[in-house]
């Protein structure tokens, strides 16, 4: 398979470090000079770009958190004038509040470049037909992929999550070769095809470009064997830059586009950098973004870094699949689900927050989530319809407010584990 930008993607490691160091100094200088938030932060820490003589010096700099991005909403982290923002993407962080990822024309150019790399890794060429079918939680990803498809010169078929049969029809009618969607949606398409007795093999489909939520090897195998395709994972926090890491044909970790972001893995308790191979919180620093550059952003996600060379020829380090740090939230189809939201819905539907547990199970694909609710005396009535009504109400609210489907299961009291923090009620079975 081709490499989109051989010069950059197969850069020697010593040259990569030089490029990174130069860009890191420029980014820090830019932040210190043009972004009031960072100016104060760096002044307080008595740090400046001149304190960076090697990449490891970055570890002395303070982190940026989701709370910082939220406080800066909408334009508080810009290093350019608002007029220079070409594209502004609202993103809901893992804390459930909005922040804004703002990109200049030059940033969009960098974004198109990394998207083109990502798509090329999945085998997209000028001859490919790429259908991008994401839902409302994945708008920024879809936008980035559109840029990449255009950059490569392939044919774009924009679609949306939703009607599986329509997506299937387009795959067949338009000879789609690459389907970009969430793993969950890929499985829904497969199920829709099976229910409608449509042939899935023998289409021109070659690969699935999947992302937007954690998924397992089992899910990969299921999709690949049903569709007769290869699947490729990609990742990027939408509040920084979607698609900054993607799988190559070796599919042994996601290459991080290290000429555009600097990656660290830190101990989530102490904040200390961890050596390659150790699992910890993923921390990203942008190297080329000028709209809203971010220093040492704590993603809230867990992964580890693989440094040894990859057989594909790319020299960029790889990261393992990301997993959630500790149940603060679930990410499904790019949509963040928090304990707070669930409790609000329960309180408003049932008049109380009963003992509950919410599970994201990537294998149980009929619904996005399973909500287990213990039936206590005030929920119980002699009429079946009270529980039925509660179920319907909860389902409607999840669908309306988060575009997610939920299966409500009522259980006997004492069946769910007692927890001290609401976050522990959120279980990511993926």
């Amino acid at each position: 398979m081709e490499i989109w930008n051989r010069e950059q993607e197969c850069i020697s490691l010593s040259r990569l470090r030089e490029v990174q160091l130069e860009r890191l100094r420029a980014t820090v200088a830019r932040c210190a000079e043009l972004v009031p938030f960072y100016r104060e932060r760096l002044r307080a820490a008595k740090l400046s770009a001149s304190d960076i003589s090697c990449l490891e010096d970055l570890a002395r700099f303070p982190f940026t958190t989701a709370a910082d991005l939220e406080a800066a909403y909408p334009y508080g982290l810009l290093s350019v004038r608002v007029e220079e923002v070409a594209s502004a993407h609202p993103v809901w962080t893992l804390d459930g509040r909005p922040c804004l990822a703002a990109y200049t024309r030059r940033d969009l150019d960098a974004w198109a470049e990394i998207s083109a790399r990502l798509l090329t890794m999945a085998g997209v060429t000028r001859q490919s037909v790429v259908q991008v079918a994401f839902g409302q939680g994945m708008l920024a990803e879809a936008f980035g992929l559109h840029l990449g498809v255009e950059r490569i010169g392939a044919r774009l078929v924009p679609a949306a999550e939703g009607d599986k049969r329509r997506v299937l029809q387009l795959i067949s009618d338009l000879g789609v070769t690459h389907l970009a969607c969430t793993p969950r949606f890929a499985i829904e398409v497969i199920q829709a095809a099976q229910a409608g007795r449509r042939r899935l093999r023998g289409l021109r489909l070659k690969a699935g470009i999947l992302g937007g939520e954690p998924w397992s090897e089992r899910t990969r195998q299921r999709i690949e064997s049903a569709l007769g395709v290869e699947t490729y994972d990609h990742y990027g926090p939408p509040e920084i830059l979607p698609g900054v890491a993607a799988e190559c044909r070796m599919r042994d970790g996601l290459h991080i586009f290290e000429d555009h972001v600097l990656v660290e893995v830190v101990d989530s308790e102490t904040g200390r950098p961890l050596p390659d191979g150790a699992g910890g919180e993923l921390v990203l620093t942008t190297l080329t973004i000028e709209g809203s550059p971010v220093l040492r952003y704590r993603t809230g996600l867990r992964t580890s870094i693989i440094r040894h060379p990859c057989a594909c020829g790319r020299t960029f380090a790889r990261m393992g699949r990301v997993t959630s740090l500790g149940g603060r939230a679930l990410v499904i189809r790019g949509t963040v689900v928090l304990a707070d939201q669930i409790e609000t819905i329960l309180r408003e539907s049932a008049g109380q927050v009963p003992v509950y547990r919410i599970v994201r199970d990537p294998e149980a694909v009929a619904e996005d989530l399973e909500l287990l609710v213990e039936v206590n005396e005030s929920l119980l009535s002699d009429a079946m319809r009270n529980l039925r009504n509660l179920e319907t109400h909860v389902r409607d609210r999840f669908l309306r407010e988060m575009s997610l489907t939920v299966r409500v299961r009522f259980v006997e009291p004492g069946s769910l584990p007692r927890v001290s923090r609401p976050e522990e009620r959120i279980v990511d079975a993926g």
Binding site: L380, D382, V411, E412, S415
Partner: protein
């Protein structure tokens, strides 16, 4: 009037798992509580069991000691002639009065020539009035606590 005409019913929530119904029956049996009428409304995943028992308080205590969620509501025991058209006659009287039946289930024993059903109405007072007017017996018997009302 409707208070005197009604009985205590215990509603129990149970998951659709093997042995749950047996656990409820055993708990009541060990407490010396007899089941007079029973109905199980079920979905794929859970069921709602409705019971009229010989001693509601004792029954409730036994069930909650076993960890079941249970609540008490009222049902009306109605005597229905045990002959063709018997139930239709009763329902016809209710329909004329504009009362809806939410659910009903039979008692296991009754007076010779009659079947007794536990009825739940959307308007109990009106239902009992209509039934009595039509000469249909609303019988409170065989439940000690209810007979004291």
């Amino acid at each position: 009037m409707s208070e005197r005409a009604s009985l205590n019913q215990i509603t129990v929530f149970l998951e659709n798992r093997a042995g749950r119904l047996a656990a409820i029956c055993n708990a009541l049996g060990q407490a010396g509580v007899n089941i007079l009428a029973l109905s199980l409304a079920d979905t794929a995943e859970f069921g709602i069991l409705r019971l009229v028992v010989s001693d509601t308080d004792k029954g409730l205590a036994a069930l909650s000691a076993c960890g079941f969620t249970a609540s008490v509501s009222r049902v009306v025991p109605v005597e229905v002639p045990d002959r063709p058209g018997g139930l239709g006659h009763v329902l016809g009287a209710l329909e004329k009065a504009g009362v809806n039946v939410e659910y009903l289930y039979p008692f296991s024993t009754g007076r010779e020539g009659f079947a007794t059903f536990a009825f739940r109405f959307d308007n109990t007072r009106e239902a009992v009035r209509a039934l009595r007017q039509a000469g249909i017996k609303v019988r409170v018997r065989s439940q000690e606590d209810a007979s004291e009302n």
